[in-house]
């Protein structure tokens, strides 16, 4: 068997190696993050002051929609899959993913799917303009023709996610080294196992709902039309049955990453390992029965309203357990503040703030005032940007020396952190204020009383964007060279990945390692 990487571009096209595929996922995701970020900058530039300056409303709506879709499906999800590809086999002592060819297939679908999605920007009538939640009938009877391409790109993205998830489950359940019992697995592996179940359960539902749209648009069915006996709200139920678990798909692996980093830099074992596992499982379970908290204003019967309110509030309990565990892990540790730790600490604080606003949104009568305002935008950016994005960034800094064999530049990392931290808060914190003061989301122009905070938010967005350039630069420099990293990299970190050389060899384990 030939076992080095093939030279040239064929290496990347034909590879079955989990590390190659992991790297491709990560680079793809970063590219999408920049693209989605540029769209966010168009949004922020337009919202810099009242009046229409740069773009017209229809294009603004396309930007909002594509920004949401690209960030969610193109940036965050592939980044987590990339980390899973790199780390899970190393963490459980496996030679590779369970189904390596399918692994390659899952990856390569993505660039094609996004090419198709982004190409809609150049089609007649423009790109999808109905928000990333694409509520019917705006996305059906009233949609631009490009919606058909949007639907099919969602279909193939979904196929990619399902295959990726199946692969991860098979790997975790089937490829562990002897002695690696379930309750010995690192939390990143656990959180991904549970995330993969969520993916398999909800991606087909997303496929189902876009299929219903396709049929309504082109084949005369009436799922979402009251005239034929359907209901536009049916769309929202099916969508959010997917959509809510989807937001936890974007945060559970983040919990795993942070649970790996904090103990390392607190030099103290993770507090409450088993409760972390149960909490993750509870969050995943609850995520299936809270979807209608996105729909408090659609006019559900009061019983439904109450049920979804209570169930949603309950999620604060297992999430709280996690937060308390992290804090207790830090408590009486011997902490040091390298870049991954900085990002992880910021994660804990800012994610919790996002969680608090989530809890406020869960209170149905109060949500009547918050719903579809910038308060919601502030909430989900706090859980997504310092949540998902920061955890990914932390993970990259944490494992980069293992991947490349080189140490990243620590001062540049700190500059990146502080720029990002300040930029992010300047961008998203004022959104709470304008939201409460009454600014609806998804509008290209706004009343004068919202002007000041919007201006501040726009400045912050550009600052945050600039921080990402520092990151890009730092990563490229580290890939190219730099001071050599030791095998352990950090002070006595836990996990099999630190027992192999840095950079990790192309094939990590050809015989199963011993697990303590």
């Amino acid at each position: 068997m030939a076992h080095g990487p093939q030279p040239g571009f064929k290496r990347w096209l034909y590879t079955t190696n989990h590390k190659d595929i992991g790297s491709m996922y990560l680079w793809f995701s970063f590219a999408m993050f920049l693209l989605g970020g540029c769209m966010a900058l168009v949004i922020r530039a337009e919202l810099f002051e009242p009046g229409l300056q740069i773009v017209q409303p229809e294009f603004f709506n396309q930007m909002t929609t594509m920004h949401g879709l690209i960030m969610v499906f193109g940036a965050v999800m592939p980044a987590f899959v990339g980390l899973a590809n790199w780390m899970i086999p190393m963490m459980i002592g496996a030679p590779d993913m369970a189904l390596p060819r399918m692994n390659n297939w899952s990856f390569w679908i993505l660039p094609f799917a996004f090419a198709m999605l982004v190409s809609t920007l150049f089609m007649e009538g423009g790109a999808p303009n109905f928000g990333w939640t694409f509520y019917a009938p705006l996305s059906t009877e009233y949609a631009p023709p490009s919606v058909t391409f949007f639907i099919f790109s969602i279909h193939i993205m979904g196929a990619s996610s399902i295959m990726g998830a199946i692969n991860i489950i098979a790997t975790i359940l089937n490829m562990r080294a002897p002695g690696m019992t379930l309750m010995k697995m690192p939390l990143f592996v656990w959180t991904w196992l549970i995330t993969a179940y969520l993916l398999i359960a909800v991606m087909p539902v997303l496929a189902g709902v876009v299929t219903m749209m396709l049929m309504d648009i082109h084949f005369g069915t009436s799922f979402f039309s009251a005239a034929g006996g359907g209901d536009p709200v049916l769309f929202q139920h099916v969508f959010w049955f997917f959509g809510h678990p989807e937001v936890y798909i974007m945060i559970l692996p983040a919990f795993g990453i942070v649970s790996a980093i904090i103990p390392t830099f607190a030099r103290k074992p993770l507090f409450g390992y088993s409760s972390m596992v149960y909490a993750t499982a509870s969050i995943a379970f609850l995520s299936f029965i809270v979807w209608a908290h996105h729909m408090f204003t659609v006019g559900m019967p009061i019983a439904g309203e109450l049920f979804f309110m209570y169930a949603t509030m309950l999620i604060a309990v297992p999430t709280g357990v996690k937060v308390f565990n992290w804090v207790t892990t830090m408590f009486r540790g011997a902490m040091s503040f390298e870049t991954p730790m900085l990002f992880s600490i910021a994660f804990v604080i800012l994610f919790t703030i996002g969680g608090f606003s989530g809890l406020m949104l869960a209170i149905a009568p109060a949500d009547f005032q918050y719903h579809d305002t910038y308060f919601v935008v502030a909430h989900f950016h706090y859980v997504l940007v310092p949540g998902a994005i920061f955890s990914i960034t932390a993970g990259v800094y944490y494992w980069l020396p293992k991947w490349t064999g080189n140490m990243y530049n620590e001062s540049m990392g700190k500059v990146h952190f502080w720029l990002a931290f300040i930029g992010l808060n300047v961008t998203f914190f004022p959104m709470h204020f304008v939201g409460l003061a009454g600014m609806p989301r998804r509008i290209p122009d706004y009343a004068l009383q919202f002007a000041d905070f919007n201006q501040i938010a726009s400045v912050g967005a550009f600052l945050f964007g600039a921080a990402q350039i520092v990151f890009l630069f730092n990563v490229i420099r580290t890939v190219q060279g730099g001071s050599k990293a030791s095998d352990e990299v950090w002070d006595n970190p836990e996990g099999l990945e630190w027992t192999v050389p840095s950079p990790a060899p192309y094939h990590t384990f050809s015989t199963p390692p011993a697990v303590r």
Binding site: G51, E58, L306, M309, V317, R332, V348, A437, A447, L448
Partner: protein
Amino acid sequence: MLRGFNRLFALPGTTVFAHSALAEEQGVERWGVNMTQGVTEVAQTTYNLHMLIFWICVVIGVVVFGVMFYSMWRHRKSKGYKAAQFHESTAVELAWTIVPTIILILMAIPATKTLYDIYDTQEADLDIMITGYQWKWKYDYLGSEVSFFSNLSTPRTQIDNQQPKSANYLLEVDEPLVVPVGKKIRFLITANDVIHAWWVPELAVKKDAIPGFINESWTRIDEPGLYRGQCAELCGKDHGFMPIVVKAVPQAEYDSWLGERAESTAKMKALTEKTFTFDELFAQGEKVYNRACAACHQPNGQGVPGVFPAIAGSKVAMGPLDAHLSMVIHGSPNNPAMQAFGPQLSEVDLAAVITYQRNAFGNDMGDTVQPIDILNFKNKQ
């Protein structure tokens, strides 16, 4: 699409705080950071609920972050602190599962009460049907003849930055919803095309307007005044441009207003018999066009390529009259965005706008359409 992209670079120039300064002059409240307390009982309870939950979160935050900052300060390696090695405690874990649960239950009680209150739409004094259209609201006072559309009244020139912005920029309409104070008003909320949401923060009413279904909501306003809100569900291109203004007045004023409204509706009907001159029709048509059609077909009649067809040089506007009448009165059979304007506009306005379209933008058909033609066309069907 990227109109005047270079303006992006001109932005940080002198104009930056011009709008804010302007807002100041006009007495717009700046730097608002919190929810309005509103002018109804429900709004007040909602506000209190909001503040309650907020403060609970703040307290929890202070405790959690306090512990965190304390250990970040005290337990750091650079200070030579040695790490403890504990990693489990069932008692502690139980405590921080149970305590939050109790806090949540305490939150849920007032929330449930408020929700029951909001859902009680029984025994209203007045029913108003609200219908969302792309991009305007229609109000029907059930049990009377009165029914009208409410459109954004901010001129295009302000939006395009060719004129200074007025104090209620984007929050002003041509005809507000007029309601009496102190009465329980039930809203029946629906939509004609896509989903909208009728939201007035000071009344704490937000309800989705869903095509084909009717949602109910209610309010009782304590103080007379003007209350402004916006559509709160993405409904297409001009979602940001369909504001709501509610004018709450004392009962007597309301009654006389309602009487006048009903009278003028009757007067409009009478005008259907009248024959107008071309110039009258054209002038009225321009007004109607800018109010009802320009959002899509654009003020210059050029439309939006690929989305909304141009009226200038349009085969319909320059073709047989019947097809034009049918398009405007019954809407397009192919694209629901081109609504049936027959039920929305008066005969006079329909005649005017069609006359206008056939003669403006260089279409120069030279024909006029009279209100009676519209009536005949409608009756023919």
